[in-house]
């Protein structure tokens, strides 16, 4: 449906120097799927989205939607944003303050010169879908944050866009509202079967909403995968660190079992069995990434199963956080973060056993290969 190939963008900064934003960005979004660009600020995700929208003119690359090229540097194509028929929700919502709710939503239909009756029908239908039906005549500036957000969404949906572009739509909402709107957004996207590109720096949003995620850093896409793949099998240190919390344990690969995708890594905790990320070879310097919730603690030594790593540690510190406990356990100089059920009451200083399943330990090369080669594999 949407296909972005070898996209490069840059812009002149305030000091006149050229800043490179997106670098060799490429991905495909199938019909009806929600695709997320995830990364820290300044990673090029918004510029990529704005290039798809046509608000930014890339340096080179190809952007195609349903077989129609909207941008192609090789063929010299650039379709103006108002001719692309993509709906977009801006971070600031960009609600026009001089129009009321109805007028805001009707605008895209009015510029398309639809009949008045048809406009009213469509506006009311889409307002009902976002649960704003009762506020048609309200001044747009008199809406709450959540309502403005729904209004912005309604305005993007009313024109039945080929593609929906969302630029950090939830970042201006407070925490509780954000969770509710996230669920709502997901429902609407699935219900209308909208092909969507979503930009965010919030990993929870990305994991909860997406069919597929592209993690970006410094203009490059560093990994593309389903939320589960991104979280459980990060292919490099940046992704493991940026998405969720994790422990990194440094070591050297002693053996690789390619067909099974497993390897053994010599670390300060002893030899660990781990899942091998791409590019892990014998003798390579790696870090083993393991999430705190995958560091299982027990006072009795567990009976090892085939794929388990068992380590004897001591409790270094612990914090009671209500629903769970944060433990710091220690082996030599290595301190591991672990998350335990609040029923575990082992005192600080006591020995404790750690079990980490091999599938949850991911060995990642420390000197990750240049991201360019990674991106081009996609």
């Amino acid at each position: 449906m949407l296909s972005v190939k070898a996209l490069y963008t840059e812009y002149a900064s305030e000091h006149g120097t050229v800043v490179k934003a997106a670098q060799n960005v490429a991905f495909e979004v199938p019909e009806g799927k929600l695709f997320t660009l995830l990364g820290p600020s300044g990673c090029g995700k918004t510029t990529t989205l704005r290039s798809i929208a046509g608000l930014e003119r890339p340096v080179s690359g190809e952007i195609e939607v349903a077989g129609r090229a909207v941008y192609s540097s090789s063929r010299g194509i650039f379709v103006a944003p108002n001719k692309r028929n993509f709906g977009m929700v801006f971070q600031s919502y960009a609600i026009w303050p001089h129009m009321n709710v109805f007028q805001n939503v009707a605008f895209p239909l009015e510029v398309r010169k639809l009949a008045r009756r048809e406009i009213a029908d469509k506006v009311m239908r889409v307002l009902a879908a976002v649960q704003l039906g009762h506020l048609v005549d309200r001044e747009a500036t008199k809406l709450s944050g959540g309502q403005q957000q729904r209004l912005a969404l309604a305005r993007a949906l009313v024109m039945e866009p080929q593609l929906l572009l969302l630029d950090e739509p939830l970042s201006n909402l407070d925490a509780k509202l954000r969770d509710a709107m996230r669920t709502e957004l997901k429902r609407l996207q699935r219900e209308f079967n909208l092909t969507t590109v979503y930009v965010t720096h919030d990993q929870t949003e990305a994991l909860a909403l997406s069919h597929e995620i592209a993690v970006m850093n410094d203009g490059f896409i560093v990994q593309i995968g389903t939320p589960r793949q991104i979280y459980e099998q990060p292919s490099n240190q940046f992704v493991a660190d940026f998405v969720g919390q994790t422990n990194f344990i440094g070591g050297t690969v002693t053996a690789v079992d390619e067909p099974a995708g497993r390897c053994r890594v010599m670390t300060a905790l002893g030899e660990l069995k781990a899942h091998a990320a791409d590019g892990v070879v014998r003798d390579a310097a790696v870090v083993v990434s393991v999430r705190p919730e995958d560091v299982e603690l027990s006072e009795q030594e567990p009976t090892p199963e085939a794929d388990d790593n068992i380590v004897r540690t001591t409790v270094h510190a612990k914090d009671f956080l209500g629903e769970y406990l944060d433990f710091q356990v220690r082996v030599g100089d290595v301190v591991l973060q672990a998350r335990a059920h609040s029923s575990l009451r082992t005192p600080t200083g006591d020995p404790i056993f750690v079990r980490m399943r091999a599938a949850k330990c991911v060995a990642i090369r420390t000197n990750t290969a240049p991201p360019a080669s990674l991106a081009s594999q996609q």
Partner: protein, 581 residues
Amino acid sequence: MTEAVGRVEAMPHAEPPRWRFDSRWILIGVPVVLVVWLAIVPLTFLLWQSVLTPHTAARPAEFTLDNFRTAYFSADTFGLFVNSVVFATGTALFALLVGTALAWMNERTNTPFKSLFFALSIIPLVIPGILFTVAWMLLASPKIGLLNVALQGLFGTDMVFFDIYTMAGMIWVDGLHYSPIAFLLMTAAFRSMDPSLEESAQMSGASILQIAYRITFKLAWPAVLGSLLILFVRAIESFEVPALLGLPVGIHVYTSAIYQAIHQYPSQIGLASSYAITLLVLCCFGIYLQSRLSYQGSRFSTVTGKGFRPRTVDLGRWRWFAASLFVIYFLVIVLLPFLVLVWTSLQKYYSAPSWDALNRMSFDNYRSVLDYPGFWTTVRNSLFLSLTCASIIMIVAAVISWVVVRTKIPGRWLLDTLASMPLVFPGIVLGLSIMICYLYIDIGIYNTIWIMLVAYVTRFLPYGMRYVSTSMLQIHKELEESAAMSGASWSMNFRRIVLPLLKPGLLAGFVYVVIVSIRELSSSILLYSPGNEVVSIMIWELWQNGQYVELSALGVMLILLLFVLVMIAQIIGRRFGIAER
């Protein structure tokens, strides 16, 4: 009653409430009384005087409505009103047009060197109105104007190309003079507009024209109209241009009519007062509309996102054309006026540039200005007035802003309004009311330098207030509260915490007030007396005597001084992050 007694008994340590004298009451009280006095009393006298006949030795003043009858129903009345409105509207429209075009090119296009231009946009503010007007006379007067002489020489005709002594000429000069203000106002308007409002219209499928009309124009409308009203008020109260260009050819507006009514014999104070009241009403109306608009405009302020850099319009080859417009603008507003003054100042008598004239250049005029009898007194007066007035204003403004921003004293909004009220007084109206006021209340300041000090403090207090209250709002309340918790008394707190934190704002405001009071003419013109002249009055007198060359020399020196002061204000502003105005 018994209940109350019971309660007192329940608290054995409660002391009976005792009124204690606190230094804060003096500190707060004095500025409050001062503001009320400055803002209200002269206005009352103005109203009172407008309904009296001229007071002469033969007949005491008596109640009359004749002044208003003359002001409203004489044959000249209609012409006066029409002239004032045409002049002010024309000036406002011209300034807005120029300012908006420049602001748009600067903010939303890729015109080359635009950042340099923005830095230069502050420079026109250093040329006082009277010098700007004189310079344009030297450039475009039908007989001696350099532009006319040059073009006549070029085409070999006697034709007059430019005549500055017309309504159009007046609008041209005053409009140019106010265009930097329009530029700053519209730049702020363009900057405050969230670019995603336009982008989302584009994503909705709107064409450039549809966006321009339905989004950009509709959103900018309050700002445009508001700027227009501010410029209208500024123009209708401007004195230099109507006095220097209008009076000689009989084009009268309210400000010049007030001046004439006072300077004829016998002085028509009553008539001047009723003109002044008319002018005041017009200004109040303009300011009222403007504040209504800015209230409406604030409804339009929206949540702004991460402030993505607004896309600039690619002008293509036209951007060099745009850049040349910047150059031309800079030429007519700074370079030509300044150069013509420099040229004139180096001549023995006024003449167009030529080889002969080039050979006659000398610094004699500068020497003769410096040797001018009373020159140093004048300079001393100006310095004394501007420094004293700036100091008083900053102290009063600090206390008043503190009361308005920090306390919950009921009626503090009234204090704020009173302190900002003189903003509505046109300079000449203020001069007139103060003149009448101290003519009647004889406390010995009439005909002294002190009456000018009173006028300056009243007139520029609102500027000081704006600087101080902006920085006051930035001081977190807890900084004061923690000082109080540490045991500091109120006056100690004000001296050791509030004032030091306000210092940058006070300093920038101080320099700004010094600049505007050195340039002041329209109030001083009614209040000065022999021996109490200030620099702007000296320029005025040199003009009246036809001493153009000495005037130019004095003007060049004044502009250079003001330039240095503006640079200082800029540096302070930039270091402490205070925006101009």
